[in-house]
Amino acid sequence: MAEQKVGPTILGRVVLVLFILAAIAGAGYFFRDTLFPAGEDGKRQVDLDAFKEQSGKVEAPDTKGITTVNEYTYLPAEKLAPVKGVSNYKWSATDKVVQFPINVWIGWLPIVAANHGFAPNTESIFYKDYGFKVNLKLIDDPVVARDAFAAGESHILWGTLDMIALFAPGLMEDSRTAPRVFQQIDWSNGGDGIVVRGAIHSVRDLKGKTVVYAQNSPSQYFINNLLLAAGIQPAEVTHKYTATAFEAAAAFVADKRIDACVSWAPDIYNIPDKVAGTRILTTTSEANKLIADVWAARADFAKDHPEIIKGLAAGIFKGMDQLAEPGFKARAFQWMADGYGMPVDEVQAMANDAHSTNFAENKEFFLNANNATNFERTWKNITFVYRELGLIGTPARFDEVMDFTIIKLLDQEGTFKHQVDTYRTSFAPTSYKKLSAEAPIVTQTIRINFYPNSSNLYEPQHDELGGVVPNTLYDPTVEATLEKVARLAGQYERASIAVIGHTDSSMKGRGVPLEEVKKLSLDRANAVKQALVKKYKFDPNKFTIEGKAWDEPADPDDPMNQAMNRRVEIAVYPPEAM
């Protein structure tokens, strides 16, 4: 049979096949970059100045007086995409049960309190006052929560604003599932944090180190926002990703080669107690207006049932009122513990992870266009960070997601006038010397082109004869630069901030008195401080100023780099240093 055939022997055939395979493999290897491109992960260089172009459009220079709250004047309906087609969520007009998934997070205490537990019931404020029931379901996995929302199984999506920003472009492909954010539930207030190993004292020290955190989570936003603020390229840090914050903490503990982890309470507080040589770098108890928890409704549901959306928001505010009573609060903790299947003391231990935002704070968040940490700025900051990291292509605009109709309506009705904003840190005046005794959490270097010998931020351009050119700015990006500082200062609401002016040393030893140069650098730092206080209504005592003249070059290895030396540094100090 086979012997009679003409052709290569078995060995010959094997050799032939091997040769062909080797040739294919070799060709594949040789052309690997064209055939199998390496993609764009990892090697991205972030344009740290891209911020200026993006944020320059936030608003025109502030011309209003100090006391005015600058409210948005547009109508949300003008900006939100109209809902098309037939509504596509599960709903029974007789039962009227809103499906509201939540995660394990103390910020949901007001809604648990208002609903008298997780299951739909007739004792609930939502039922008694507004005629519908709420079913709180524990869906801890954001992807599952998102999919249930998209499928119409739930009407509400829980999330931090950074999560919503990642989900929004996909969900908006269908106008019915576009997320509409109506209310802020809380600020993370110690619930998220960064734990480091060894001699890391400031975000700047993370350069060249390895950080582990849950990808696409608030952790990712937290750390990368800080890195960008400190002027560190994300590529200068080795990022290791896990699926959950819990695993990030576990990986940090298990693997000594990892220098830092971003995780949640209670892990961030337990690790320094249990693992020698680790400490907390920073948490959201300082960056207490960085991570906002909200809920979003399906656009078609919100369109069909505006009264339910209003009832949800109002009921949650009422829940906040009721929690003021200790006996009721204890019951709410118990309901929450039952719902999560956790011991009640563990739920109580989470009490300080978040700060519930009442009506006044929601008003600040949604309606005040000047607020450094309002919805618009928080959203723009998130999309800036994520876009620069290459995580999202075209982000959704803030006004395609934010809907302040309900907050405005409740404001007009005056239902929650009694709720006042007490979540503001009051600062005592301090000195730079006292403040700088401790290492700053993060230092941000900004550059403002001051007109020679001037400390006016808004100095106009001058013509050849020295005359002023009206309606121009010597530094046209000054508003964007201030915006950058304001966001960091706003996010670190509880921290003290030093504004340090530096000059270049080109006139050093040319008969210019040091005192005058020092005064100039101090004046310039003060100009930055005053501009921030005026525009964003910060407490003046939050900022401490210092003028360093030419004493500290930006780069000690390159002291004559005068372009680098002309700068203002913004150092964020932990509250203990005050």
Partner: protein
Amino acid sequence: MTGDQPATPTAEAAPKALPATPLWSLRIRERIPPWLVWLLGAVPVAVLLGLWFAVTAGPEAEKRVISPTILPSPTEVVRSFPQLWFDRALMRNLFVSFGRVVEGFAVAVALVFPLGLFMGSFTKIRAMFTPLSVFGAYLPIPTLVPLTLSLFGTGEVQKVVFLALAFGIYLLPLIVAAVDGVDDIYLKTAYTLGATRAQAVRKVLLPVAWPQIYEALRLGFGVGWSYILLAEMVDIGRGLGGIIIISQRRGPREHIYLVLVVIVALAFLTDKAWQLAGRRVFRWREKRR
């Protein structure tokens, strides 16, 4: 395929076989031509694809039966292929994942094969390890991710170990069953001929069980792909699992389904390779039926 069909002798032996039945009638263990095998196999795939097209048809998201926020249409999925290939380095990630599966498989076989052989051969050893093997089969393996993490770190080792664990748990009972399934008659014959214990294992149990073991390995190789998501959950970076996890969070959703299609295609090819290799190695077995 090559010219020498392994099935030729059987085909010669089967001219007396019953004539092929019409398409709609079913006969037990009927022999059907290869083209029909392909055709029948293609029908459900085509129906599924048609269904997919149908429920996602329409340019407007709001008019579709299933919204694109849940399931994008096949065209959209195909259209996102260049992005997956070029921007997200599909092939490199595929190689990474495939490498991990192969490594995990190799580690598992290296451990489980001797153990299974001994368990199948010696009752006492089987008694010792059966409980563990049974527990393993019932274990929700995802819960072991944090454990492997703290033992093996966050790198490559953890992923391979995790996959090996999944493979091992699946393969062990099958190998034991394969060895156990060898008919006593072979053993008795061997002993009658004066075989030692070692010879009985090496020359009788193992060779007779080989085709079954091979079949188990072939089926088991697919198991790795169902765990690739979990394995690549830690230190998400490269790998197909990583692409899926990331796409679930920040899109595009098309890539989730595209990667699934890629995995299916890869599974098809590897399975064909296993079959082909099996036919060559166990040529004698083909003729047995």
